[in-house]
């Protein structure tokens, strides 16, 4: 049986992993591909963005795949996909995932499904606009970069060349070995898909920082809408400093929109209509974010909403 090339994507919340994954999938059109998507919260927004006929998608939610609470589910999912005779398996880690122990996890997969996977690299996406600030607050970011076999310095369209240079210098300090490709919207040469990136290995396996204690608080805001875009925009702008990330689909008065908030950047893209609006909120301040969400919405938005864990 031919082997399956395995790539793992890492990178902080909002760095562009899902967009990059979509590019890879487009490039692998015609090949048999499996995807494991990992999300912190209960609702997997990203799964809908990549869903496609013929794609073998497995979703693992409510915790990082590198954390003791989800490690076995990850190993099980890989072992199960190993039986599908796929050409490629791509893993999209959650943004908060610390992949330091990825080799240990793959050893466990070898026990269940020997000689199927050829692990070809851990690829880290870096948000050029937010990386330096985020690096100070969460240690997972430096681990993601250090363990990466290839680094994609993404969102270069959002920063000046001097800023990009500063980020590049910091990345080099963290990982002097692995190739770094600058990009915007995850657009890079896809030749790496044929390679074994493992020859660029800076550090070896170590314990992951992920634990149920270090997991950020996530919530889901739901609304039937419609909601005025101007009001939602004000709400998001006010809430953004308290959140790592917000993502979802909302029924705006201007039409259904995919909403993405990363740091201070808010992005709207048209999307198909759905049963109800859902926004996943990943908090910087733990459960203390609930109050500003409730108060902010009440103050600024005229539609009803529910907020759930």
């Amino acid at each position: 049986m031919a082997q399956t090339k395995l790539f793992v994507l890492t990178g902080f919340l909002g760095a562009g992993k899902t967009t990059f994954l979509k590019r890879i999938l487009h490039n692998l059109e015609g090949k048999k591909v499996g995807v494991i998507q990992n999300d912190l919260g209960k609702v997997n927004i990203d799964g809908e963005l990549i869903e496609k006929d013929g794609l073998e998608l497995r979703e693992i939610s409510q915790g990082s795949i590198y954390c003791s609470c989800r490690k076995l589910d990850f190993v099980k999912a890989l072992a199960e996909l190993a039986q599908r005779n796929l050409d490629y398996v791509l893993v999209e880690s959650s943004g908060i995932g610390d992949p330091s122990n990825v080799e240990e996890l793959l050893q466990a997969v070898e026990v269940l499904a020997p000689d199927v996977y050829v692990f070809s690299g851990l690829i880290c996406l870096v948000d050029a606009a937010n990386f330096l600030a985020d690096l100070e607050s969460r240690e997972e970011l430096s681990r993601q970069v250090r363990h990466a076999n290839m680094i994609l310095l993404n969102k270069t369209d959002l920063v000046e060349p001097q800023e990009q240079e500063k980020v590049l210098e910091t990345l080099r300090e963290l990982n002097p070995v692995s190739p770094i490709c600058a990009a915007a919207f995850g657009e890079v040469d896809m030749a790496f898909l044929e390679e074994d990136l493992r020859r660029y290995q800076y550090v070896g396996n170590e314990a992951s920082l992920n634990s149920s204690e270090s997991k950020p608080k996530t919530l889901v805001l739901r609304t039937a809408g419609p909601v005025k875009k101007a009001e939602v925009d004000a709400f998001l702008r006010q809430l953004a400093p308290q959140c790592w990330r917000m993502k979802g689909f909302l029924p705006l008065d201007t039409g259904w929109s995919q909403v993405d908030v990363v740091g201070k950047y808010i992005d709207y893209k048209p999307c198909p209509a759905r049963e109800q609006g859902e926004l996943v909120i990943i908090s910087r301040i733990g459960p203390a974010v609930i109050r500003p969400i409730m108060d902010g919405w009440k103050e600024l938005v005229t539609a009803e909403m529910t907020l759930r864990n």
Binding site: L72, V75, L105, V111, L112, S211
Partner: protein
Amino acid sequence: MEILVVGGGCASCDTVYEETRAAAAELGLDAKIRKVEDLVEMVQMGIMTVPALVVDGKVLSAGRTLNKKQVKALLEKVL
């Protein structure tokens, strides 16, 4: 008797370990109790959901947080 509590790094697994030690003590068991936290070892044992309780090689429970009373009940069945 060898009792293995499989799973590590989460509160649930730690709880089962403590409750198992307490249960074994109350039953006056001369048992070696060990926590299995290594992922490769877990998978080699065929354990796919944790926390799990394994006594003399037999899986008595998997994927459930157990309290002392529940552990005692499981242990009593195999004594």
